[in-house]
C-alpha cells in the first residue's frame, strides 16, 4: 500500500517536472492588461502571435481597482508577468522597487518607434531619474465637458479660455440654473482638479527634488483658494462621487452645465445620454490663468517590461507591435481609449470626432504628477484637505499647512534614502 503511494508520488513528480520542461520548450509571454484593455488585447494580438509562432502570448485580465495591489504582490511573490499595463502615475513607484526593466537601449535602437512619435507629456511620465521604464499605450487627461445649449441660454458666448472668462461664465450659468442646480460639477473626492489648477500656476507641488511638500507656497496657495472659492461662491455643489447616483442623468437634466472629466466619459456620454441631447454637449480644453499655462494632467497607461522577464526581446517586440499606428487606431475603435501615438490620430474615426479634438489640443499641454513613488498618496491628501476646506471644517490656510505637514511625513523615508545615497560615494 505504502509502496503504491510512493510510486504514485514519484510518478506525479516526474510528470510535473516533465510538463515544466515541455512548457519551457515553447516560450510563453505572459501579459497583464487591465479592465477593458484586457478584454480586447487577445483580439488585437492575433497577428503578432501568427508572425511569432511558436511563441505563445497569454493575456490575463486584471480589474483596475485591484491592479496596483496585485502587481506589488506579484513582485514580492516573484510571479510578475513579462509585460504589463500600468497606470503611468505608478511608474516612479515600480521603478523605485526595481520591478521594471529600463527600456532606453531598446527604444534608442528601435526602428518601429521613437520618442517623437508620442505626445511628449505622455512619454515624459515614463522617464524616472533619466531612465525610460515604459512606452505610452494610451493617453488620458482632463478637459471641460459642457452643455452648449445651457451656455447659450445663459448668454455665454463659448467655452471659457481664461480663469476670468471662466468665472464670468460660471456666474451667468449659476444665475440661469434651475433651483437646486449648479454651474459646474467638481466631485470633491477627486484630486485632479485642485492639482491641475496648481500646475496651471506652475506649482511644482513638491520642492527640493521631491523631499518636501510645496503646497503652502504662493502658486499652489492661489490655485487652492481659487478652487475652494468655486464651492464657496455656490458655482459647484460640495458633493463627492459616492453621493452622485447618476452623473449622466443629472447632466442630461441640466443640474450642472460644466464638468471636468476624462476621455472615458466620451463613450459613456454617447451611450448614456438621451438621443435628444446628443448635439447639445461638447468638450473644450481647460481654461487657464492669465499669468499661467492652460495645462492639464498627464494620465494614461503604459506598457512596461518586468525586470525579471526571461523573454525581454519578445516582450519588446510586442510593445513595438502594440505601438504601431494601425494597431493603436484599432485599439481606439475597440476601447475608445485615446492613442498615445500622434499619427494614430489621423485616422478618420479620431480626426472626425469633434469631441476628441479638445483632448488632442489638451494633450499637447499636459504635466505629470511629481515623479516620486508616494505621488498618489500625496494626491489623495490634496483631495482630503480640499474637502475639509470646501465643507468649512478648516480654513484654506490651515488645510494647506496640514497638507504640507502630512506630505513631509509621507516623504520622510524618501528624504532618508536620498541622504544616504548622497553620503555613499
Amino acid at each position: 500500500m505504502r509502496k503504491a503511494a510512493f510510486a504514485a508520488f514519484v510518478g506525479a513528480t516526474a510528470w510535473i517536472a516533465a510538463s515544466c520542461t515541455a512548457r519551457r520548450s515553447t516560450p510563453t509571454l505572459t501579459v497583464w492588461a487591465l479592465g477593458r484593455e484586457g478584454e480586447v488585447l487577445p483580439e488585437l494580438i492575433s497577428d503578432f502571435e501568427r508572425a511569432h509562432a511558436p511563441l505563445k502570448v497569454v493575456v490575463q485580465q486584471i480589474p483596475w481597482t485591484a491592479a496596483h495591489e496585485k502587481l506589488l504582490t506579484a513582485y514580492v511573490g516573484e510571479s510578475m508577468p513579462d509585460l504589463m499595463e500600468i497606470g503611468n502615475t505608478w511608474v516612479p513607484e515600480f521603478a523605485a522597487i526595481r520591478a521594471l526593466r529600463p527600456l532606453d537601449r531598446e527604444a534608442a535602437s528601435s526602428k518601429a518607434l521613437a520618442p517623437g512619435d508620442f505626445f511628449p507629456g505622455a512619454w515624459d511620465t515614463n522617464v524616472v531619474e533619466g531612465r525610460l521604464y515604459g512606452i505610452p499605450w494610451y493617453v488620458d487627461t482632463r478637459v471641460l465637458f459642457y452643455r452648449t445649449d445651457l451656455l447659450a441660454r445663459a448668454g455665454v458666448a463659448g467655452p471659457p479660455r481664461t480663469w476670468t472668462e471662466w468665472i464670468a461664465a460660471l456666474r451667468k450659468l449659476k444665475a440661469a440654473a434651475p433651483p437646486g442646480g449648479f454651474a459646474i460639477l467638481l466631485p470633491t473626492d477627486e484630486w485632479a482638479q485642485p492639482i491641475i489648477l496648481g500646475m496651471q500656476l506652475r506649482s511644482g507641488l513638491l520642492r527640493d527634488d521631491g523631499r518636501y511638500g510645496d503646497f503652502g507656497a504662493a502658486p499652489f496657495r492661489r490655485a487652492f483658494g481659487f478652487y475652494i472659492d468655486l464651492f464657496r461662491d455656490g458655482f459647484a455643489p460640495a458633493v463627492s462621487n459616492v453621493q452622485i447616483a447618476n452623473v449622466y442623468d443629472q447632466f442630461a437634466r441640466g443640474d450642472f452645465a460644466m464638468y471636468i472629466t476624462g476621455p472615458w466619459n466620451l463613450g459613456e456620454f454617447r451611450r448614456r445620454l438621451p438621443p435628444a441631447l446628443a448635439s447639445r454637449w461638447t468638450t473644450a480644453p481647460l481654461p487657464g490663468p492669465e499669468d499661467g499655462e492652460a495645462v492639464s494632467i498627464a494620465g494614461g497607461a503604459s506598457l512596461a517590461v518586468s525586470a525579471s522577464t526571461k523573454h525581454p526581446a519578445e516582450a519588446w517586440q510586442l510593445v513595438e507591435f502594440l505601438s504601431r499606428a494601425a494597431i493603436q487606431s484599432r485599439f481606439h475603435d475597440l476601447t475608445g481609449d485615446l492613442p498615445a501615438r500622434v499619427d494614430a490620430w489621423r485616422t478618420p474615426a479620431l480626426a472626425r470626432d469633434p469631441e476628441a479634438r479638445a483632448f488632442w489640443d489638451q494633450l499637447h499641454r499636459v504635466r505629470p504628477l511629481p515623479k516620486v513613488p508616494e505621488c498618489e498618496h500625496i494626491a489623495r491628501k490634496v483631495a482630503e484637505y480640499a474637502e475639509m476646506a470646501i465643507r468649512g471644517k478648516m480654513t484654506t490656510g490651515a488645510a494647506l499647512a496640514a497638507l504640507d505637514r502630512d506630505t513631509d511625513r509621507i516623504l520622510e523615508k524618501r528624504r532618508d534614502l536620498l541622504a544616504r545615497r548622497k553620503a555613499r560615494p
Partner: protein, 295 residues
C-alpha cells in the same frame, strides 16, 4: 513515572497537531505583526530590504498624533456603542415575535429576517445607496411625508456614520435573532405554564423567566456582535470608502488603506496591534463580567 504525568504527556501528544496549527497560523502571525509594527517596512523595502530599519515605537507615537487615527478610533467606538444595542434589540424583538405562538408562518418570517445576513454586502450596498439618495431615495421621501427636511445621508459628515450603523444593524440583526430563537425554543415550556398558573402576566413572565434564561445566549451574541463591529470594514468600504471627511473611516479600513493602498506595512501593523489590544481588552472585560455574574 506516575500515571498522572504519563497522561499529561499523552495529552500533549494528542494536542500537538492542533497546537502546531494554532502556533503557525495564529501565534506566529501575531508575533510577526508585532515585529512589523516596530520597523519601517514600506514601499521602498519591497525593492530593497536593506532599507528596513528598526524604529522602535515610533509608529505608535505617530499613530496617536495622527488625526485620522483619532477619528477612526472615535468612529469605531461610536459604531460599537450605538450599533450594538441597535442590533440586539431588534434581534430580541424579532426572536420573540417569530417564536410567539400567535405568529403565523414563523419560518417565513425567520427567513425574511435572516435574508440580509446571507445577502452579499455589495448587492445590499447598491440597494441602500438608492434608499439613501438625497433626492430620489425612499427614506427621504418618507421624511418629506412627515414634513421633515431631506437628509444627505451619505454625503453629510454628521449623517454618514448613522447611515452606516443603520445599514449594519439591518444586515446583522438576523444572525443574532436566529441564535436567540434557538435559545427560546430550548426553554422548558413547563416553567411558563407554572408561571401562568401562578397568575404571572406575560410582562412579568418576560422579565422574570425569559430574560434570565436567555442571558447566556444574549451575552454570547452581544460578544460576537461587538467583536465583529470593532472590525468594521466592509460596510464603509463599499458605501463611502471612509468619507466624507473621514466620518466613516474605521480602524480596520484605515489599516487596509495604509497597508495595501500605500504599502506602509509597518504603520498598518501598528494599527492592527492597537485594534488587537482593544478587542482583547474588551473580550477580557466581558469574560470577567460573565464569570462574576455566574459566581
Amino acid at each position: 513515572m506516575s500515571a498522572g504525568t504519563r497522561n499529561t504527556r499523552f495529552g500533549w501528544v494528542f494536542a500537538a497537531p492542533a497546537l502546531l496549527v494554532i502556533g503557525i497560523f495564529f501565534l506566529l502571525p501575531i508575533a510577526a505583526g508585532l515585529v512589523l509594527s516596530l520597523v519601517n517596512f514600506d514601499i521602498y523595502s519591497i525593492g530593497d530590504p536593506s532599507t528596513i530599519r528598526f524604529i522602535g515605537p515610533r509608529h505608535y507615537a505617530a499613530l496617536f498624533r495622527d488625526p485620522a487615527f483619532g477619528q477612526a478610533l472615535r468612529n469605531t467606538l461610536l459604531f460599537v456603542v450605538v450599533g450594538l444595542p441597535l442590533t440586539l434589540l431588534p434581534a430580541l424583538g424579532a426572536a420573540l415575535l417569530v417564536n410567539a405562538r400567535l405568529t403565523r408562518f414563523p419560518s417565513l418570517f425567520r427567513t425574511v429576517f435572516f435574508a440580509p445576513v446571507v445577502t452579499t454586502l455589495v448587492a445590499v450596498a447598491v440597494v441602500w445607496r438608492a434608499l439613501y439618495h438625497p433626492r430620489f431615495g425612499l427614506i427621504n421621501h418618507a421624511l418629506a411625508f412627515v414634513h421633515l427636511r431631506p437628509i444627505d445621508w451619505l454625503g453629510d459628515p454628521r449623517w454618514a456614520l448613522p447611515a452606516i450603523i443603520l445599514l449594519a444593524s439591518w444586515k446583522n440583526f438576523g444572525y443574532d435573532m436566529v441564535i436567540l430563537v434557538a435559545a427560546l425554543k430550548n426553554m422548558n415550556p413547563e416553567v411558563f405554564e407554572a408561571a401562568r398558573i401562578d397568575g404571572a402576566s406575560s410582562f412579568r413572565q418576560f422579565f422574570h423567566i425569559t430574560l434570565p434564561l436567555l442571558r447566556p445566549a444574549l451575552l454570547f451574541v452581544a460578544f460576537i456582535t461587538a467583536v465583529g463591529y470593532f472590525q468594521l470594514f466592509a460596510e464603509p468600504y463599499v458605501m463611502t470608502l471612509g468619507g466624507p471627511l473621514n466620518s466613516t473611516l474605521s480602524v480596520a479600513l484605515m489599516m487596509y488603506r495604509e497597508g495595501f493602498r500605500w504599502w506602509n506595512l509597518g504603520y498598518a501593523a501598528a494599527i492592527a496591534v492597537v485594534l488587537f489590544a482593544i478587542i482583547l481588552a474588551v473580550s477580557l472585560a466581558g469574560y470577567a463580567l460573565q464569570r462574576r455574574r455566574e459566581l
